[in-house]
Amino acid sequence: MEQDEKCFLRRSTVDNRDLPLSGYVVLDVADEKGIFCASILAELGAEVIKVEPPAGDTARNIGPFYKDIADLEKSLFWYAYNAGKKSITLNIETLDGQEIFRKLVETADFVVESSQPGYMANLGLDYDALARINPAIIMTSITPFGQDGPYKDYEASDIVLMAMSGLMHMCGDADRPPLRIGIEQAYGHGGMCGALASLIALYWRNITGEGQHVDVSVYECVVWLGYLTVPYYAELKRTIPRAGSKMRLLTVENELVFPCQDGFVVHRVGTGRVLGSQEKRLVELMDKEGRAEDLTQVKWTEIGFSELEQDELTHWEEVIGKYFLAHTKSELHKVAVEHKIMLTPVFSTGDVCEYEQLQSRKYWLELDHPALGRSITYPGTLFNSSEVAFGVTRCAPIIGEHNEEVYMKQLKLSPEELIRLKQANVI
């Protein structure tokens, strides 16, 4: 089955494309806690102005770094989540800075921020104040715990938010500490929810002309990732125990990650109508190599989900595990795709980058980075469209790269004023 690949447009490198958010302006004062939000809006065509303190955004300190050089202009975290944005420096803690910010708000559509609740109010830049200047402004506040509640002023970090989500408690080995879910991702989910809620607010504004204050609580964004947890607990009165790579939901423990010749694969040995027929196909393939042992006798599609016995499941997993050990990730994946068996390789980041499915979908994006003298290969847009070539066309900005453009051309400040503001550490 072939789909017409021309159906999906790929990124063009031409600016001024007719994107859904073309013409919309975003003032992004968020730090690493909310930085992903505006980068999504940039991907949708908005003009995003990253407002950094004169010394540079704190997110620029987050590694890894290009060639491991800890430099404000070489943070890979910064590159990843600020592509497509412009940068101005502005110290909003000064009165001059606040005045300039208010001027920028006059012609902006969105303000994205991630400061502690009350911080913006102290600067006279909270939603009510900004709405008086521009009633259509949509202000999105992304904070670890939300704007209200007993923990609103608490300190946070990625691991702490993942702990609060309830997800960590289920992850890891039974006799070892709970484990973070791989990578840092709490703020990524927060940023995504921020972008989404901002767009919903925009939809409302286009009907009514009114802006809104959007309050995103990152910890709640992460709790949402645990769909099994609440119903499982509320219905079955059980918490899900840690079981390493196994899944222990009801009465049996399923292994999910099997070693193979050159790494690992994800597979769940199952029975019943859906999983059973796949298992049958897998066993037939194993049989061709003389590796099926007594699994050919099993009536895979007839055994109900709740009829599984741990002893026999463990035995099946052992036999199947031996088959996996005799093959590479790539061999097993090929077999799985060909015979419609749910089995995937555990890819490393390197494997992901080299994989042909992504390359054939032209997933990767090359953006020039003048300061580095080379281009950077980015993961592509989050989705594809038949009508619009979404995606950014510029890499992450250098500190204050667009000061002149914004301050002189847009706000019409004179060169002398710019110098004065620089000397006063406002810019």
Binding site: M1, E5, C7, D18, L21, L44, G63, E155, S157, D158, V160, M162, A163, M164, H169, C171, R176, P177, P178, R180, G182, I183, M192, C193, G194, I200, L202, W204, Q212, V214, E220, V223, G226, Y227, T229, P231, E235, G244, S245, L256, P259, V266, R268, M342, T344, V346, F347, V352, C353, S360, R361, Y363, I376, Y378, G380, L382, F383, S385, S386, E387
Partner: protein, 401 residues
């Protein structure tokens, strides 16, 4: 009741499990009218999974994820059924599906076909691998996609083998991606009058969320490894045991000021003079010894006790919640994160509220997950103007089924 931001928007949704329904119900939470097309021929398995008595109206996952949706039963696997679905699409704004590309093609409800009845339709398809490419027709569940996106390979203790995950964490991110893609497309349509087709590949969303790890490979040639609870720049950082059975606290100490505050708050000012912990670099180097010392202290306190002491000192610390804490924790309760929703076949179930609040148009959990075909009359007779005779015949022919 407050007005919903998306009130007046009508969405047709075909799909099951998590990613698609999450997108659908999030739209419904914000006021859209979202019609889930179901059929006996392809029942959403979540209606049955863990259902206490095997009833399709009591699947706990379905009750949580499919709240606020309407349900119409049409056997779209038959061409006359697909034609009926098109009648609903004709009077709708958005079509969303998370069928596999193969099933979507077979159903005849592809974008090209749907566009014939509604040229301005915004259609979004959510699949594991996308609509094109060599493995497009492959199917998968969430944990399998995590294997492909690279996430599973990074879930493991430092230096250990990966243990992967079983929840399918890429599902919700993909569902939310579909949602903001739809919102962007609606904005585009308002400007240009044109609809469009959106292709969301769950796998690609998963990889895009790993920006700096991917860049570390493409820029530095370095393959990411399991880091456990370690941070590359913060120490102390991790998970420490507390008093009681399987009780833990997570601590993340980000600055020198926070380190000093932690030393004082734990009654260990001597740590500040210890050369092994002189700065972040030294603390990372001597992480094991530092973690042992911190554990000695945390073991003498309850998890909430540690949080109280450290947060007061300005250090990030929160217990590792089990699910019961989501119900009992003071902040979770104050924020009303879990909402109790009554249901005709249940004493009621707890559902997650949305993690965002809009000042004028907050999300609202208005109604329970629909009974199978609960809105057949409303959708087909009222919205599509079908006569009673025609309706009854379609029921008899098992097209409304």
């Amino acid at each position: 009741m407050a007005k919903g931001a998306l009130e007046g928007l009508r969405v047709v949704f075909i799909g099951s499990y998590w990613a698609g329904p999450m997108c659908a119900s999030a739209m419904a939470d914000m006021g859209a009218e979202v019609i889930k097309v179901e059929t006996h021929a392809r029942i959403d398995n979540y209606r049955y999974l863990y259902s206490p008595d095997g009833s399709p109206e009591r699947g706990p996952l379905f009750l949580v994820i499919d709240r606020n949706l309407l349900s119409v039963t049409i056997n779209f696997t038959r061409s006359e059924g697909a034609a009926l679905v098109k009648k609903i699409i004709k009077v709708s704004d958005v079509m969303l599906d998370n069928l596999s590309p193969r099933v979507l093609q077979k159903s005849g409800l592809t974008y090209d076909a749907v566009r014939q009845v509604n040229p301005e339709i915004v259609m979004a398809s959510l699949s594991g691998y996308g609509q094109t490419g060599p493995v497009a027709s492959y199917s998968a569940f969430g944990p399998h996609l995590s294997g492909l996106s690279g996430l599973s390979g990074l879930i493991g203790y430092e230096g250990d083998e990966p243990i992967g995950e079983f929840q399918g964490y890429n599902d919700p991110a993909a569902g939310l991606t579909a949602l903001f893609a739809i919102m962007a497309a609606l904005r585009y349509r308002a400007n240009t009058g044109k609809g469009q087709y959106i292709d969301v590949s769950e796998w690609e969303v998963g990889s895009a969320m790993m920006g700096q790890e991917i860049l570390d490979y493409t820029m530095n040639g370095r393959v990411a490894k399991c880091q456990g609870n370690r941070s590359s720049w913060m120490a102390p950082h991790g998970c420490y045991r507390c008093q009681g059975e399987d009780k833990w606290i997570t601590i993340a100490c980000a600055t020198e000021d926070e380190w000093r505050a932690l030393c004082r708050a734990t009654g260990n000012p001597g740590w500040m003079k210890d050369n092994r912990f002189a700065d972040a670099y030294a603390r990372l180097k001597n992480k094991q010894e530092l973690d042992e010392l911190v554990s000695e202290w945390t073991l003498r306190h309850t998890d909430y006790g540690v949080m109280g002491i450290l947060q007061k000192a300005g250090v990030a610390a929160v217990p590792v919640f089990t699910i019961s804490e989501l119900f009992t924790d003071p902040h979770a309760q104050a924020e009303e994160y879990l909402v109790h929703l009554p249901h005709p076949h249940e004493p009621g179930s707890y559902v997650y509220n949305n993690p965002w609040k809009l000042s004028e148009t907050p999300p609202e959990i208005r109604r329970h997950a629909p009974l199978f075909g609960e809105h057949n009359e409303y959708v087909l007779r009222e919205l599509c103007g079908m006569s009673k005779d025609e309706f009854d015949k379609l029921v008899e022919d098992r097209l409304i089924w």
